[in-house]
Symmetry: C2
Subunit: 707 residues, 2 copies
C-alpha cells in the first residue's frame, strides 16, 4: 500500500501521539516534516521506513524488556537476525550502485536496532566481501556469489594477539610449496594467533587471513591476504590444523562473536592468494604490478579509508539515539522551579541546554559530513574500479585518507563524550539498562580504537598536512610567493593558500550578536589550522636539528602539536561543509534560521575547546574575546531549546527501534518507565535464595579466628 | 602467623614475581615498599592484607574467568558474600573508633574486589545504620543491634520515581492517627513510588522511608524519616500493603538489588518516626528542637556530607585499579619502534605517558585528599555526638559540606574520564570484559549522579563561596580593609584574604624548569579562584539588577561562572593539601623527588584545563605562558615514566583482587591473556545453533514481498 508523506497511520511521516511533549512541539520554529524531507529526501525516508517496519513486524526482532540474555543466546539471536536480513534483501546490488547512500543508511538502520547486528552483517557482506572483491581477481568471483547467498560466512583476520596498530609486524606466515602448489599458513606461536576477529568466534567458515608471503629460498614479500577456509560449512566444525575459538565477553557488541585462530601448517591452494597486489607463479616466482612495497601500500589506502568512513556513520547513529533519549527526557522531567509549587522541565535550565544541545548540533553537522565523505569515497572507488591512475585520483586518495583518519576519531570521541553526557543528564534513570544509554556507550566504544586507534590515526592526518607544507616550502621557497600552491580535489586544504599571511589576522567580533554565525568560527578555524601547522612544522624541525631521529621527533611533537592540528583541521572541514550546506540557496526559507543556529552552535562550541590556543597564538586577546565566544554558545543553546524536541523528532527512529522508555515519542516518561519495570522478569517475586537470609543466619565474627 | 615487612611469601609486602616488568622496576627512582609504608603505615597495610587474604582463600569469593552470570545468580552471590563479611567481622566497633580511617579502607578493599559488594555492605551497615542511629533516639537502639547482627536488612528510601534532586517535592505521606497511635505511610500514585533504593529490590526487610509528616488538622511538617518494615524477615515476603520489587538491570553494580516500593496506607507505630529532628506526641502534637524547617535542614548537612565523602573514596578505588591495569599493560605491550626490528613498550611514547600518567598522579593526590577529608568529617561527627553547638562547629559543617559537594564531582569525573582513557589506551584488549576496565567504568558511573547530581552539587559549593564574599562585602565594605576577614576551620578559604588584591598578580615563570613544582600551580589557582569569584559575584548581581529572580540569576550564572568556580576551588584544595603533604619534613628524603613530581603533575595538568580562563583574565599573557605550562606537564610525564610501574605497585591490590589478565604483577601480558581466554566457557566448542547455518539456509529475498 502506498503511503503518503502526511496524514494517517501509514503516512511516511506520521503524527506523533499527543502528550507531554506537545508544548515543545508547538513552540518549534519550523516543521519537523519539512526538515526531515529536506535532510533525507522522500526516497531515503521511505527506504528507512521499509526497514524499520519490517523489523517491527517480525517477531524475530521483538524487543524483550529486561531480558537478561546469556552470551550464547544473544549470539544465536543475532545470527538468526542477520540471516533474516538476507531474506529481506533490503538493498539490491543495482540499488546500491544507483543510490550509494543507501548503503550507510541500511547500516545505520540495522545499527539503530542493534549495533551487533550491523557489525555482523557489515563484517560479512562488506568487510569480508570487499576484501575478496578488491584484493582478489576473477578467480575469486565465485566467493562473491557465495557471500551474497550466505553459503559461506566470512571474517577479516588481520590483527594478532600481540600486534594491532603495527600491522607490519604481523607474524603469521604463508610459505609457498611449488611441489603441491600450495601455501602453508602457519602461526609461529600463540602471540601470533589471529585475535579480535569479528564473526570468527562461532560463525565464520572463511577468513581473509593476512600473512607474510614467502617463496622458496626464504624470500619474503610482506603481508598478503589469503582466503582460508577455517570451518566446514556443513558442520561448522574447524578445519584440520585450525584452532579457532571465541575470545569471550566484551564491553559491548556481545551479539557479535569475536574470535581467535591459530594455524598449524594449514595447506591452502595457490589460488587462495588474493592476488590483486601480488601473485606467485605455479613455480614459485613472486610477481607484482607494483614496483615496491611502499607503492603497494599506497594503493591500499582506499580500502582503509572505507572502514573508517563506515565507522563515522556507526558512531553517529549512536549519538542520534542518545540525544533523542536525553532530550525527550529533559523536556518531560521536571525538577525544581521558580517557586516551591511549580516545577519546570529540566530542559529549561541553561546548564541542561549547555550539556546537551551542542551534541544535538554535532549530530546534524557530523551526519552531513559523514554522508558527503561517503560520496567522496564512492568517487574514489569508481576511479579505482575504472583503472584511473591519474595524479588527481592519487591525490584524492590521500585527501580522503587524511579526512577519514581524523573524522573517525572526531566522530567516535564526540559520540563517546556525548553519550556519557546524555547518560548523566538523565540522572539515575539514565543508569537503568532498559533506557539504553549504557548499551549505546558500550557499543560505540570500539569505534574509538578499532580500524586504527584514534590517537594513532590523527598522526596520519597531521603527517598529510605537514607533507603538503614541506612540499610547498621545498618547491616554492615560501608558499605565499605563489598565489595558488595548495589545491586538493575536495578543496579541504585550499584555504592554506592564505598561509602564512593569515596568521596576522585577529578575532574582531566584539558583540555576541555578531558571533552567532558559523562564519565567525570558520575564520577562527582557518587561522588556528595555519597556526598549528606552522608551530608543528617548526617544532618538528627543531627536534630534528637537536639530534632526534624522525621517529623520535614525530613522537615528541604529537601531543602538543600534531594531535590538535589534525583535530582542528577535520573540525574545520566538518564546519565548512555544514556551513555551506545550510547556506545553499535550495534551503527552504522556513528552515534557514534553525539550521543556521545548529551550524553556528556546533562550530562555536567546537572552537571553544581551542580557546587557550587562540589566546596563546594571539588570535584572541583581552577578556572580551573569550567571553563573547562563551556567551554566544549559551545564547545559541537558549535559542535552540524550543526547537530541540522537533529536531529530535527528525533524527529519532520509531519507538520500537529507539527502545527506551524514557525516550518514547509520546513523552509519557513515568508511565512508560513504570510499565517497563513491571514487565521485567520476576520483578515482584521473592528471591529464590530467600532462606539464605531467613534461615541460615550468620554468626557474627565466627570466621574471625581464620584471619 | 606474624608477617614481616620484607622477605618471604608471608611478608607484608612480598616481592613481585620476576618477568617483563623487571626492567621498569629496576629503573624506579625509589623503593615501592618505602612509599607504601609512608603512604599507608604498617598497621593499615596489615589490615588490608588481612582482608584481601581472607577473600582470596575463601571459595565463596573465587573469581570465575569469563563467567556469564545471570542477574539473579549475581545478586545471590553478592548477598552471600555480604553475609560472609559479617562472619569475618574485619572491623570491630572499637577499632572503628580507634582508627577511623579503617572504615574507608574496608570499603575500598571490598570495592576493589567488587563494587556491588561494597555498595551492599555500605548501604546496610553505614547508610541505613547511620540513618537510624543519627536520626533516631534511644528507642531505636534495638534496631542498631539487629543491623550489626544482620537480623534485619536495611535500605534508605528517599528518592521517588519522579523526584530525585528535588527532595523537597517528595510526595509520600505519613499521616498520624491519634486513635491508634500510628502513622499511615502512603504513596499517592506510582510517580511517588520509592525508586532506585539500593538493597530494596530483593533483600531489605526494613527501610528508612522519607515521607511528609502530617498531624491531624492537615498540618504538615515536611520530610521526616520513618523506619518501616517492608518484608517479613522470616520469609522475605512483603508486608501487607507494601508493593516492593526490583527495578531491573543497571549499567553496572548488578550484584546490588535496587528496588522500588509503593505503600498503600501502611500503618506503623508512632515510635517508627526517627525522632531526632522532630517528634509527635501520642495525642498528635508536633514537637521539634529546631525553630524552623531551614534550621532543621542545616543540622542534617553533616549526614549528607558523609555520603559524598564515601563516594570520593569509592570513585578513587576504581581509578586505582584502572591505572594499575593500563600502566602495567603499557609497560609490557610493545608496538612500533625506532627501527622495523625493534619494538618499544608503548609507555615509552610521550602520547601514552600524557594520556595515563596524570591520572596516576590524580590517584595519589585525590586519595590523600579523600583521607584527610574523611578525618575532617570524623571531627565534625564527634562534635555533633558531643552536642557541640559552637559557631566553629557550625562553620566546620558548612565548610565540609562545600568541600564534599565539589570533591565528589571532581573525584567521580576524574575517575570516569580516567577509566575511559585507560580503556582506550589498552586498545582492543581494554575492550575485553575479562580485563575489567568496562566493569570499573560501569560501576563507577553512578558516582557521578547519585547522592546529588555532580552539576547540581557544584552549585552548593559556589553558593558557599559567594555567601562568604557577600557576607564580607556586606560587613566590612571591602574585604581588603580587614587583614583577616576570611577564616574557616579547615583554612580552605583563608587565602581569600588576599582578595581582591591578588587579582593584580601575573604568571611570571618563564622556563619549564621553574615550572616543575606544585607551588606554581597553587599560586595560579589562588588567582583563578579569586578571579572566578569576582566574575561570578558581578555577573549574579548584574543579572539581578536586570530583573532576574534569584532562581533565574543563579541558573544563568552556573555554566560559565559557578561551575568553574566550584571546580577550581576544590582542585586548589586538593592541590594544596597534597603539596603540603609531600613537602612536610617527615617525608623520607628518598621519596621527595617522586612525590614532588606527582604533586606538580597533578597540579599543572589540572590547571592546564583552565588555561583559557588564565589568559582571559590576564594572569597569562603571551605565547610563552601556555607553552611553558604544556611543556612542564610533558616534562613531568617523561620524568615519571620510569617510576610508573613502581608507583602502581604501591596502589595495586593483589592480582586476585585486581582480576585483570593484562594487569597482573608478573607482567606476562600475553600468557595471562591467552590462558584466561582458554579458561572461558565453551571457548572452542561449536555453537549449539550450528544447524541454523549449516542446514536451514536462507532464501535470499524470500521475504522481500512482505515489505
Amino acid at each position: 500500500m502506498a503511503s503518503t508523506v502526511e496524514g494517517g497511520d501509514t503516512a511516511l511521516l506520521p503524527e506523533f501521539p499527543r502528550g507531554p511533549l506537545d508544548a515543545y512541539r508547538a513552540r518549534a520554529s519550523f516543521s519537523w516534516k519539512e526538515l526531515a524531507l529536506f535532510t533525507e529526501g522522500e526516497g531515503m525516508l521511505r527506504f528507512k521506513k521499509t526497514i524499520f517496519s519490517a523489523l517491527e513486524n517480525d517477531p524475530l526482532f521483538a524487543r524483550s524488556p529486561g531480558a537478561d540474555l546469556s552470551l550464547e543466546k544473544y549470539r544465536e539471536l543475532n545470527f538468526l537476525r542477520c540471516k533474516r536480513i538476507f531474506e529481506y534483501d533490503f538493498l539490491s546490488v543495482e540499488d546500491m550502485f544507483k543510490s550509494p547512500l543507501k548503503v550507510p543508511a541500511l547500516i545505520q538502520c540495522l545499527g539503530m536496532y542493534d549495533s551487533s547486528l550491523a557489525a555482523k552483517y557489515l563484517l560479512h557482506s562488506l568487510v569480508f566481501g570487499s576484501a575478496v572483491y578488491s584484493s582478489g581477481s576473477e578467480r575469486h568471483l565465485t566467493y562473491i556469489q557465495k557471500i551474497f547467498r550466505m553459503e559461506i560466512f566470512g571474517c577479516f583476520a588481520l590483527t594478532e594477539l600481540s600486534h594491532g596498530s603495527n600491522t607490519k609486524a604481523i607474524r603469521t606466515t604463508a610459505h609457498y610449496d611449488p611441489a603441491t602448489e600450495e601455501f602453508i599458513i602457519h602461526s609461529p606461536d600463540f602471540e601470533a594467533a589471529k585475535f579480535w576477529v569479528g564473526n570468527m568466534g562461532k560463525t565464520a567458515t572463511h577468513a581473509v587471513v593476512f600473512a607474510k608471503l614467502c617463496v622458496p629460498g626464504d624470500q619474503c614479500h610482506g603481508l598478503h591476504p589469503f582466503i582460508v577456509q577455517i570451518r566446514d560449512p556443513k558442520t561448522l566444525l574447524p578445519m584440520p590444523g585450525v584452532m579457532v575459538g571465541d575470545i569471550g565477553k566484551k564491553l559491548g557488541q556481545n551479539g557479535l562473536d569475536n574470535g581467535f585462530a591459530m594455524f598449524h601448517k594449514v595447506r591452502v591452494p595457490r589460488q587462495s592468494l588474493l592476488n590483486r597486489m601480488g601473485d606467485v607463479t605455479p613455480e614459485g616466482t613472486y610477481v607484482s604490478p607494483f614496483k615496491d612495497v611502499r607503492q603497494r601500500f599506497g594503493a591500499s589506502l582506499g580500502s582503509l579509508s572505507s572502514g573508517r568512513v563506515s565507522i563515522v556513520s556507526l558512531a553517529i547513529l549512536n549519538l542520534k539515539l542518545a540525544v533523542a533519549i536525553a532530550l525527550r527526557f529533559s523536556a518531560t522531567r521536571r525538577q525544581f522551579g521558580p517557586t516551591e509549587e511549580e516545577e519546570i522541565p529540566v530542559l529549561e535550565y541553561p546548564m541542561q541546554q549547555w550539556r546537551l544541545l551542542p551534541y544535538l548540533a554535532a549530530v546534524y553537522a557530523l551526519d552531513h559530513f559523514s554522508k558527503s565523505l561517503f560520496l567522496d569515497l564512492v568517487e574514489l572507488q569508481r576511479g579505482l574500479a575504472s583503472g584511473d591512475r591519474s595524479a588527481r585520483q592519487a591525490e584524492l586518495g590521500r585527501e580522503i585518507h587524511a579526512l577519514a583518519s581524523a573524522s573517525k576519531p572526531l566522530a567516535s570521541w564526540t559520540t563517546q563524550q556525548g553519550i556519557q553526557e546524555c547518560r548523566e543528564a538523565c540522572g539515575g534513570h539514565g543508569y537503568l539498562a532498559m533506557n539504553r544509554l549504557g548499551v549505546l556507550r558500550d557499543d560505540n566504544d570500539p569505534n574509538c580504537t578499532y580500524e586504527g586507534d584514534n590517537n594513532i590515526l590523527l598522526q596520519q592526518t597531521s603527517n598529510y598536512l605537514l607533507g603538503l607544507l614541506a612540499h610547498q616550502v621545498h618547491v616554492t621557497g615560501m608558499c605565499v610567493l605563489d598565489g595558488a600552491c595548495f589545491r586538493s580535489p575536495l578543496k579541504s586544504v585550499d584555504f592554506l593558500d592564505a598561509y602564512p599571511g593569515i596568521l596576522d589576522q585577529k578575532f574582531e567580533v566584539s558583540s555576541v550578536a555578531d558571533c552567532l554565525d558559523s562564519a565567525v568560527a570558520l575564520a577562527a578555524y582557518k587561522w588556528l589550522v595555519c597556526y598549528l601547522l606552522r608551530e608543528t612544522y617548526q617544532k618538528l624541525n627543531q627536534e630534528k636539528r637537536s639530534g632526534s631521529s624522525d621517529f623520535e621527533a614525530r613522537n615528541k611533537c604529537q601531543v602538543s602539536h600534531g594531535r590538535p592540528l589534525a583535530l582542528a583541521f577535520v573540525e574545520l572541514t566538518v564546519v565548512q561543509r555544514f556551513h555551506e550546506h545550510v547556506h545553499q540557496p535550495s534551503v527552504p526559507p522556513s528552515l534557514r534560521a534553525v539550521l543556521g543556529r545548529l551550524s553556528a552552535l556546533y562550530a562555536l562550541w567546537s572552537l571553544s575547546r581551542h580557546a587557550a590556543l587562540l589566546y596563546r597564538g594571539g588570535y584572541f586577546s583581552g577578556e572580551q574575546a573569550g567571553e563573547v565566544l562563551e556567551s554566544a554558545v549559551l545564547a545559541l543553546c537558549s535559542q535552540l531549546k524550543d526547537d530541540a524536541v522537533a529536531l529530535v523528532d527528525v533524527i529519532a527512529p520509531p519507538d520500537f527501534v529507539l527502545d527506551s522508555p524514557i525516550g518514547r515519542a509520546d513523552g509519557e516518561l513515568y508511565k512508560n518507565l513504570w510499565g517497563a519495570v513491571l514487565q521485567e522478569s520476576k520483578v515482584l517475586e521473592r528471591a529464590s535464595w530467600w532462606p539464605e537470609f531467613s534461615v541460615n543466619k550468620p554468626v557474627i565474627g565466627s570466621l574471625k579466628s581464620k584471619l
